[in-house]
Subunit: 374 residues, 2 copies
């Protein structure tokens, strides 16, 4: 959908003539009370659920969560997925032409924040004629957007489902983002962010960024269970117990092969400037910042009811960070449900099937559904 | 010290005409029974203790641990520090000329393992006329060498002090090493490891490698305590609560500034091929490998008495990994002392002052000292 704007951004810049790519699933009911907005994390998009006809492996990124009869049941809810500004899957981003200059944005795309995304999403809801959301939900960075919705538009959100998220990034989180960004920015093919006009892509940097990301999405335990110290040669069917190859540059362990593959795949489709923008939005999110660092004071504005979910082995956004949000909401006598799932998969668990996790979300949305006319 | 060799390496290659740089502290006693070998980790050297005259900030890397009156008391012990083969601080490594070809080794330097280093260290002891070590000690990768000494030369080691170490790397450990290596190898200035003859250094890759390393050396807690979400602008004396700069490429948070500085500094002095070699030695170390994965079986060869020390917040080589070694030694009825120190600093704790840590090592070495004529 096309918007004339201008949309004022937190940086002081603004953006005009922008597009937001979105998808919807299910049917909006007569009194427009069954809408659920799903917010995406780093490398996902508006394609939340379902498949594209005739396109193999085109399942939406949360297809296990959203769909007919699924925990977020599209037979009852009208679900909206939207690609955020600055992303690279259809909404206006660094790969698009800046109408003000006629040149591709590249590194000149304005810095966007979680709050800016929420504002853009609100404009989309306005255009769709939806005043109030039955729920807003997201995992990780998507959870930050869901939380921010309850602060920026408290009267427009009845429920917020915040999964595997945090009230801000720790120094370690920022540090990992920064290493990934440095890998991209110092890739000679980055050209200060204007690589498009050079006909190249900073793939080396994107690969490194993705490899770092992948390590932090998984738990140590699941990595050991999945890869351990298994040699690539053993996987390739050589005699078990094959000797080391004794090489510093070739793949020796299966985990190396996996990471290189993930890095290569990512560098084929993801935009480098988008990677910088989205990790920066993560860094900047910090609702307590304008309240003297007091999260309880920041969350006093929220009116929604909340479900928070965290995963025990998630060391990127640990359960302790979700509990900070729970505590701050309880300080404000808000209605909060909280589930801490003992899943082994680390941060990635928020995208995976786990019967307890799916059960909690299903139950919660059954409660949400009871509140509106079906 | 110069060695004619050849030294047979685990890879099947061998190395001839090599140098081992070493330093000693204290005095070897008459019956040569008070020698302590200190093994270094990734980026340290033979310069374990003391300062170089007239050279500011030249303290050895374990100067708080080794010296007159210190936990490893050089008034009683004859301490030897040796730079490992393949390193870049004086012993033969990738920056040196391969006598067989007349060309700088570069990426052709043979892959070296912890076991190879121990063999080279044993050759040095032979040359120094030292048959038996009162103790061998090391932290992290240095601890792996200490452990390997007790398996390769069980009759030559009376005590082994293994600090913040592990019986092998986890998949996650290998993964971090691999990302660092890929950053170096894919730096266009790496030139397949023969960058010396191009007059360049793959500094971009080295910076990324060091930044990743630093994150894994520190605990999340100490990073939050030291840096948190403090902005660079606040540190530079701008008004507290200064607004974000809203930039994806400039330094915004103090942790970014710290990591960039560490990366820059490292890239000025560390050799890229050495980084590959040493991280690979870490990956390869796995004494249980030739014993069907059974660490207890592998450690059955040890005859030494052991002190193991781990640090609660060390997530790179967690206490659980040290406890695996303790368990395997106890399975063999070996004499083991174990201390788990509740220090906040993560893996780096093994290099830092902590009164409990230093106290444990001091007590242990007092016991070691009682066993020989002073």
């Amino acid at each position: 959908m096309q918007f004339a704007g201008p949309l004022a951004l937190r940086s002081g810049a603004s953006i005009s003539d922008y597009t937001l790519a979105y998808e919807t699933y299910g049917t909006l009911n007569a009194d427009r009370s069954n809408a659920v907005l799903v917010c995406h994390a780093l490398n996902a998009s508006h394609h939340v659920a379902g498949v594209y006809q005739g396109q193999a492996r085109s399942e939406g990124w949360w297809d296990n969560m959203v769909g007919p009869g699924k925990p977020v049941d599209t037979d009852r809810f009208f679900v909206i997925g939207v690609n955020n500004l600055g992303s690279c899957f259809g909404s206006t981003g660094p790969m698009h032409v800046n109408p003000a200059t006629g040149r591709v944005y590249g590194a000149d795309f304005p810095v966007v924040t979680v709050e800016d995304w929420v504002d853009a999403q609100a404009a989309l809801l306005d255009a769709l004629g939806i005043e109030t959301l039955a729920a807003v939900m997201g995992g990780s960075l998507g959870g930050m957007q869901a939380l921010s919705w309850t602060l920026q538009y408290p009267e427009r959100v009845r429920h917020a489902v915040v999964v595997a998220s945090a009230p801000n990034l720790t120094a370690e989180n920022i540090a990992f983002n920064e290493v990934a960004r440095r890998a991209i920015v110092t890739d000679p093919d980055f050209h200060g962010g204007h690589f498009y006009e050079h006909g190249v892509v900073p793939k080396r940097g994107l690969r490194i960024a993705r490899m770092i990301g992948h390590i932090t999405y998984l738990s140590d335990d699941v990595m050991n269970a999945k890869f351990g110290r298994i040699l690539r040669s053993a996987v390739e069917g050589e005699a078990a117990g094959a000797d080391y190859r004794y090489s510093t540059q070739d793949v020796e362990f299966q985990i190396e092969s996996y990471l290189r593959y993930q890095g290569d795949k990512f560098s084929e489709y993801f935009d480098a400037n988008t990677y910088l923008l989205i990790t920066r939005a993560l860094d900047y999110f910090d609702p307590a910042r304008n309240h003297g660092g007091k999260l309880s004071a920041a969350l006093a504005q929220a009116r929604a009811k909340f479900l928070l979910v965290s995963f025990k082995t998630d060391w990127r956004f640990s359960p302790a960070r979700s509990r900070e949000i729970v505590k701050a909401l309880l300080d404000n006598s808000r209605n909060v449900s909280y589930a801490e799932i003992d899943a082994p998969h680390g941060h990635d668990a928020f995208l995976l099937d786990d019967v307890r996790y799916m059960g909690v979300v299903r139950s919660y949305f059954e409660r949400v559904a009871k509140e509106f006319q079906q």
